[in-house]
C-alpha cells in the first residue's frame, strides 16, 4: 500500500489568495494511500523542505506530491529534498496549482476544486511511480567542429587549447570561410586576412586538431558524449602527402576560365587550383566538373608537370569514421544573390554587384589587386550607389529579418571606395542605420563626416541603364519622399544574409531543429544561445543567425567552453526518463513482437534489435531494445507500439492512464454513491 505525503504550498499569497490551500490539503488527506497532507506558506523555503524531509522519515513515505508552482520551476528542488531524506527523487512529483491554477483563475470554489483535481491526479501518478536511477554514460573527449570559418576556427582552437582533441571538417578545399574573402573589417579597418591567416595556420599545425577539408558529414549516430560520425573525404585527386604545393600544376592547367568562387565570380581560376594563396591546406584540388581529363578523357597535363607525381586521377571518396563526444556546428551563412530583386538589375547589368564582390574588388589579393574597377570595362567608377537592405527586412520580396551585418559593411564599403577613388561619389540608400556595437556608431559617423559618404534615407525602386550609366531611381523619405535619381557607374547591393544551402539537410542529419529560414535553432533564445535541443551539439557563428565577426567569435568561444565543461567529466549523468522494452517470463520473453514499426518513429535511432537465444545459441525471438544512451524520452515509440511492449519511465502507461481516470473522478471518497 502506498504511503503518500501531500504538501500544499501557499506560495505566500500567490496560491493562497486564490486557492483554499487548507481545503486542498484536507481533500488530499482523504485519498486512499495518502498518509500525510499539510499546507504551508512556502514549501520551497528551507523550513518547507524540512517539513517534507521530516515527513518522509517519520511517516516512512513512499511518494511525495508537492502542490505548488510549475514542475518546470521547482521539481529539481523538491526531488533533491526527497533524495536528501532517503527517498528516491523520482518518487516525487509536483501538482501545478500556481501557474496552471491560482494565477489564471479567480478566487472561488471552482478554482479550489480544480486544485484538488490536479493534486488528486498527481497522487494517482505518484502511486505508480517507480524508483529510477540516473543513467551514466561515458564521454569521448573529442569534439567535431563542422565548418572552418572564423567561428569554427575559434571554437576548434579554444577546445584544442583546453587539451581536448578536435576533428574539424570543412566542405570546401580550404578553411578560412567568408572572412578570408573580406578586404578590411569594420570598425577598425584592419586587414581581414592579416588577422585570420595566423589562426588558420595554427589550426593546421595544432597537435590536437585533425583537419579534414574538402569533406562532409556522411552520417552521425549516437548521443551526447558518444557520437559516431562518418566523414566523407571527397576525392581531391591529389596525393596530399606527395604534393608540395609548388603550384606548377595550376600554372600549366589549360582550363583557366572557371569563375573563381573565392573571388565571388569576378576572377577566374584553373581546373586544378588552390582557392587562394593563403589557403590551408595550401594544396590544390581538381575540379572534376571542369577538368578536361574528366570531361573528355584526355589531357593529364598536370600529371606530366607534377614534380612529385602527386596527381591521382583515380582517387575515390574516402569515408573516415570517428568517435566523438560533442559537436560544434559552425557552418556559416551565404549571401543571397540579387536575383529576387529583378528591378535592381543584378545579373543583367555587369556593374550591379553584391557586397561580397565588392569585398573582392577592394581586397589587395582580389582580381583588381585592390583597385576599385568596375567589372564591365575595368574603369574606375566615379559614382557608386550602395543599396542597403537589398532583400532584408522585406517580407514581400526578400526575407523579413534584418541581416544585421549590412549597415556596417556598407558603411565600410563606401568608406573604402572613397579612400581608393579620390573624388568619387558614394551614395548609400538605407532604411535605418543599425550601428549597435562597440565603436560601430562612431564608424558610421566617420563615413558620413570624414569620408563624405552621402546617406539617402529611402528605398530604390529600380536601376536601369541609360547611355552607359546606371540610373538609380529612389526616394528620399527625409525630404518628403522626394524622388531621387542618381547616375551611377556601379551599384553595390547589400543582399541579405541567408542560411547556407544544405543547412536543412544537415540539421536533419544532426537532429537539430531549425527555424523557418533554415538557420539552426538554439535551445533557448536567451538562456541557451549556444546549445541546440540535441544534447552535445552546440552552435557557433552565422549558422544560427546572421552575425558579424566579433559576435561569431564570442559565440564560438561560448560553444567551446560548453564542450570543455562537458569534457571535464569522465561520465555523464542523465535523467532516466527513457523508454524501455518490457521483458517477461518465457515462453513470451517480451510482449514485443519484433515488428520494428517503432524503429522508424524514433527520432534518435535509439531502437535496436536484440536477439533472445537459448543457452545453446538457438534464436528464440528478436525484439526491440532501447539504447538508453540514445533515447531522449519523447515516448513516440510508446504510442506507436500496439502491444504496449515499450513503456516510458516517468510517464508510463500505468501512470498516464491513472491520471486520466483520476482527473474526472470527483466523487468525494467519503460521500455516498
Amino acid at each position: 500500500m502506498s504511503r503518500i505525503g501531500v504538501f500544499i504550498c501557499h506560495c505566500g499569497e500567490n496560491i493562497g489568495a486564490t486557492v483554499d490551500c487548507e481545503k486542498v490539503a484536507a481533500a488530499a488527506a482523504k485519498i486512499p494511500g495518502v498518509v500525510h497532507s499539510v499546507d504551508y506558506k512556502y514549501m520551497c523555503s528551507d523550513p518547507g523542505q524540512n517539513m517534507i524531509k521530516e515527513a518522509i522519515r517519520e511517516k516512512n513515505l513512499t511518494g511525495v506530491v508537492v502542490g505548488a508552482c510549475s514542475p518546470r520551476m521547482h521539481e529539481p528542488t523538491f526531488r533533491r529534498a526527497c533524495e536528501e531524506a532517503g527517498l528516491n527523487p523520482f518518487l516525487c512529483e509536483m501538482a501545478n496549482i500556481r501557474e496552471h491554477c491560482s494565477w489564471v483563475h479567480e478566487k472561488g470554489d471552482p478554482t479550489t476544486e480544480k486544485a484538488i483535481d490536479l493534486v488528486r491526479v498527481i497522487v494517482e501518478k505518484v502511486r505508480r511511480n517507480k524508483p529510477l536511477v540516473p543513467i551514466k554514460v561515458p564521454v569521448t573527449k573529442t569534439a567535431l567542429v563542422l565548418g572552418g570559418g572564423i567561428a569554427g576556427i575559434q571554437a576548434a582552437l579554444d577546445i584544442a587549447n583546453a587539451g581536448h582533441k578536435v576533428i574539424m571538417v570543412e566542405r570546401s578545399p580550404s578553411i578560412g570561410g567568408h572572412m578570408s574573402q573580406l578586404s578590411e573589417t569594420f570598425p577598425t579597418l584592419d586587414c581581414s586576412q592579416c588577422i585570420l591567416t595566423p589562426r588558420m595556420v595554427e589550426v593546421a599545425r595544432h597537435a590536437n586538431i585533425t583537419l579534414h577539408t574538402y569533406s562532409e558529414i556522411e552520417s552521425i549516430e549516437g548521443f551526447i558524449g558518444n557520437f559516431k560520425v562518418k566523414i566523407r573525404k571527397k576525392a581531391r585527386s591529389i596525393d596530399m602527402k606527395a604534393c608540395t604545393g609548388c603550384g606548377l600544376c595550376s600554372q600549366k592547367c589549360p582550363t583557366r576560365k572557371i569563375p573563381s568562387e573565392f573571388d565571388a565570380g569576378l576572377g577566374t581560376r584553373p581546373a586544378i587550383y588552390v582557392p587562394f594563396p593563403q589557403a590551408v591546406p595550401n594544396k590544390p584540388v581538381i575540379d572534376r566538373l571542369n577538368c578536361t581529363y574528366y570531361l573528355k578523357g584526355k589531357c593529364r597535363l598536370c600529371e606530366k608537370v607534377c614534380p612529385t607525381q602527386a596527381i591521382r586521377f583515380d582517387q575515390e571518396d574516402e569515408i573516415v569514421e570517428a568517435d566523438i563526444g560533442a559537436v560544434v556546428l559552425a557552418t556559416g551563412f551565404e549571401i543571397k544573390h540579387g536575383d529576387f530583386f529583378p528591378e535592381y538589375g543584378f545579373g543583367k547589368f555587369k556593374d550591379v554587384i553584391d557586397g561580397m564582390q565588392f569585398e573582392r574588388l577592394a581586397s589587395a589579393s582580389g582580381p583588381t589587386l585592390g583597385e576599385i574597377r568596375r567589372p564591365s570595362d575595368g574603369k574606375k567608377p566615379e559614382t557608386v550607389v550602395f543599396i542597403a537592405c537589398a532583400g532584408s527586412r522585406d517580407p514581400a520580396k526578400g526575407i523579413e529579418y534584418c541581416s544585421k551585418i549590412c549597415c556596417m559593411y556598407t558603411a565600410k564599403h563606401a568608406m573604402l571606395y572613397r579612400h581608393k577613388v579620390h573624388g568619387g561619389n558614394a551614395y548609400i540608400f538605407y532604411m535605418d542605420i543599425r550601428a549597435g556595437g562597440k565603436m560601430y556608431e562612431e564608424f558610421v559617423r566617420r563615413a558620413i563626416e570624414e569620408d563624405g559618404v552621402k546617406y539617402v534615407r529611402g528605398r530604390v525602386s529600380r536601376v536601369y541603364e541609360r547611355e552607359g550609366k546606371l540610373i538609380v531611381q529612389g526616394a528620399d523619405t527625409l525630404l518628403g519622399a522626394q524622388p531621387v535619381e542618381i547616375e551611377a557607374d556601379m551599384v553595390v547591393l547589400a543582399t541579405a544574409a541567408v542560411a547556407n544551402d544544405g543547412a536543412e539537410e544537415l540539421a536533419q542529419k544532426m537532429h537539430v531543429s531549425y527555424d523557418a529560414h533554415k538557420f539552426f535553432a538554439e535551445a533557448h533564445p536567451k538562456l541557451k544561445p549556444v546549445e541546440t535541443n540535441t544534447a552535445g551539439i552546440f552552435l557557433a557563428g552565422a549558422c544560427q543567425a546572421p552575425k558579424d565577426i566579433p559576435e561569431s567569435v564570442a559565440q564560438a568561444s561560448g560553444a567551446a567552453s560548453k564542450v570543455g565543461a562537458l569534457f571535464s567529466q569522465d561520465e555523464l549523468t542523465r535523467e532516466p526518463v527513457i523508454a524501455v522494452v518490457n521483458r517477461s517470463a518465457p515462453p513470451l520473453y517480451s510482449t514485443c513482437v519484433g515488428c520494428f514499426l517503432c524503429q522508424a518513429a524514433c527520432p534518435y535511432q535509439a531502437i535496436e534489435r536484440e536477439e533472445i537465444r537459448t543457452r545453446d545459441g538457438k534464436l528464440i525471438k528478436t525484439v526491440a531494445k532501447v539504447n538508453p544512451g540514445l533515447c531522449q524520452g519523447c515516448g513516440t515509440c510508446v504510442a506507436v507500439c500496439r502491444t504496449k511492449a515499450i513503456d516510458l519511465q516517468g510517464f508510463s502507461n500505468e501512470q498516464v492512464f491513472a491520471e486520466v481516470m483520476a482527473l474526472l473522478d470527483r466523487s468525494e471518497p467519503d460521500a455516498g454513491i
Binding site: P32, D670, I673
Partner: protein, 342 residues
C-alpha cells in the same frame, strides 16, 4: 408430472403472446435480423420467425448474460461498502420457440451453476424463465442432436413443447408445472389434443452418427493422441466464437471496473479456446498449443461433464460449427475421433 397434450391453433399463438405480455412477463422469441436469426424480445408474434433452423447465438444470455453486474462497491469512511444487485427486480420471462437442443442445454448450464456453489444469479433468472419449446421441422448438415441422446422433438428442458402439425396448428405438450402455470394465463387457447395427432411425422430427420457414450469413451481414450488433436486444431484460429454461441459453455471471467472510490464487479463470458485462458502468473501456459485447447473443449463437453455433473455438455445444436470462421465442424471431428485407430 405426466405430460399433457393439448392443441394450440395456429391463430392462437398471437393471443398467447398477448396474454403473456399482459401478465407482465417479457417474451423472447427468434427474430430475423438480416442474414441471421437471434433471440430477441417481442411484443407480438408477428415479430417472431418460427420457421428458423437455428439462431446464431443461443439463448443462454437469458440465464447467463454476457456481462452481469454481481456487486457494486464504494468507499465510505475509509472502508469499502458493497451492494448486491436486486435480483427480485428481474422480470418474469418466457422464451418462445426455442428448439429442443437449446431447451436441453439449460440443464447442462444448470449443472454447472448449481453443481457446488449455488449461483444466485443463474438460479434467480432460471426461476423466472419459462421455456416454450418448438420441435424442429427441419435441420441442416450441422445438426446432430440425435447423436447426443436428444432429438428434434425432445421435451427435455421445455416447460411446454410445441410441435407444428401438418395442419399448421401446434401440438402443445405441457411438461412441467411452470408450463401448466403458463397455460393458466390463457387456458381457453389450449384445446384438447386430437387423438391422432402425429408428432413424429412432423419432426425433422436428424441422422444419428454416434452415441454420446461412444463419443465420451473415445475422446477419453484418445486423450494422449497429440497428433490427432493438433491435426484437428491446425486451422483453428483460437477465437471464442464457438464458446460464445454455444448454449452450454459456461466459462466466465470476473472483472472489477471503476476508480479507487467506487466501481462494480462484473461477470463476463470467457472461452477456453483463447490462448491466454490458462496462462499462469509465472508465464507458463499448461495449454500452450491450440491442440490442447481444442482437446479441452471436446473433453469438457463429452467426458468431464458427464463424469462430474452427470449431464452431457453438448446438445448437438451445431452453432459452433456454423459460427466458426474456419469451418471447424465438431460433428465431423467427433466422427473422426471414433474412426481414428489407436
Amino acid at each position: 408430472m405426466e405430460i399433457e397434450r393439448r392443441l394450440l391453433k395456429k391463430e392462437a399463438l398471437a393471443g398467447l403472446v398477448e396474454k403473456i405480455n399482459a401478465a407482465g412477463r417479457k417474451v423472447h422469441a427468434p427474430v430475423c435480423e438480416g442474414a441471421r436469426v437471434e433471440f430477441a424480445p417481442i411484443d407480438s408474434i408477428a415479430e417472431a420467425d418460427l420457421g428458423y433452423v437455428q439462431t446464431t447465438q443461443s439463448a443462454k444470455n437469458l440465464l447467463f448474460p454476457r456481462v452481469e453486474r454481481i456487486l457494486s462497491f464504494k468507499r465510505r469512511g475509509g472502508a469499502m461498502e458493497t451492494a448486491d444487485p436486486d435480483l427480485s427486480a428481474l422480470p418474469e420471462t418466457v422464451v418462445l420457440g426455442m428448439h429442443p437442443c437449446d431447451a436441453a442445454a439449460i440443464g447442462s448450464l444448470g449443472a454447472i451453476f448449481t453443481w457446488d456453489t449455488q449461483d444466485a444469479f443463474f438460479k434467480a433468472r432460471l426461476e423466472k424463465l419459462t421455456v416454450v419449446g418448438l420441435s424442429c421441422a427441419a435441420g441442416d448438415e450441422y445438426c446432430f442432436c440425435a447423436s447426443v441422446g436428444l432429438g428434434p422433438g425432445s421435451t427435455e428442458g421445455s416447460d411446454i413443447l410445441l410441435t407444428r402439425l401438418a395442419s399448421g396448428d401446434f401440438l402443445a405438450e405441457i411438461v412441467t408445472a411452470k408450463g401448466k402455470a403458463l397455460v393458466e394465463l390463457a387456458p381457453e387457447l389450449f384445446l384438447p389434443a386430437p387423438a391422432g395427432a402425429d408428432k413424429d411425422s412432423a419432426l425433422a430427420r436428424i441422422e444419428k452418427s454416434f452415441t454420446r457414450e461412444e463419443a465420451g469413451e473415445r475422446a477419453k481414450a484418445r486423450f494422449d493422441d497429440d497428433a490427432l488433436w493438433d491435426g484437428q486444431a491446425l486451422r483453428c484460429l483460437g477465437c471464442g466464437a464457438c464458446a460464445y454461441v454455444c448454449p452450454t459453455c459456461a466459462c466466465f471471467d470476473i472483472q472489477d471496473e471503476g476508480t479507487t472510490s467506487r466501481g462494480v464487479r462484473l461477470r463476463c463470458w470467457d472461452s477456453c479456446g483463447f490462448p491466454a485462458f490458462t496462462i499462469h502468473t509465472s508465464g507458463h501456459n499448461p495449454r500452450e498449443e491450440q491442440g490442447a485447447r481444442w482437446r479441452q473443449r471436446l473433453m469438457h463437453k463429452f467426458s468431464y461433464m458427464p463424469e462430474r455433473q452427470d449431464v452431457f455438455g453438448c446438445v448437438g445444436c451445431g452453432r459452433c460449427s456454423r459460427a466458426c470462421p474456419v469451418d471447424m465442424n465438431i460433428k465431423e471431428h467427433l466422427i473422426d475421433l471414433l474412426e481414428a485407430k489407436s
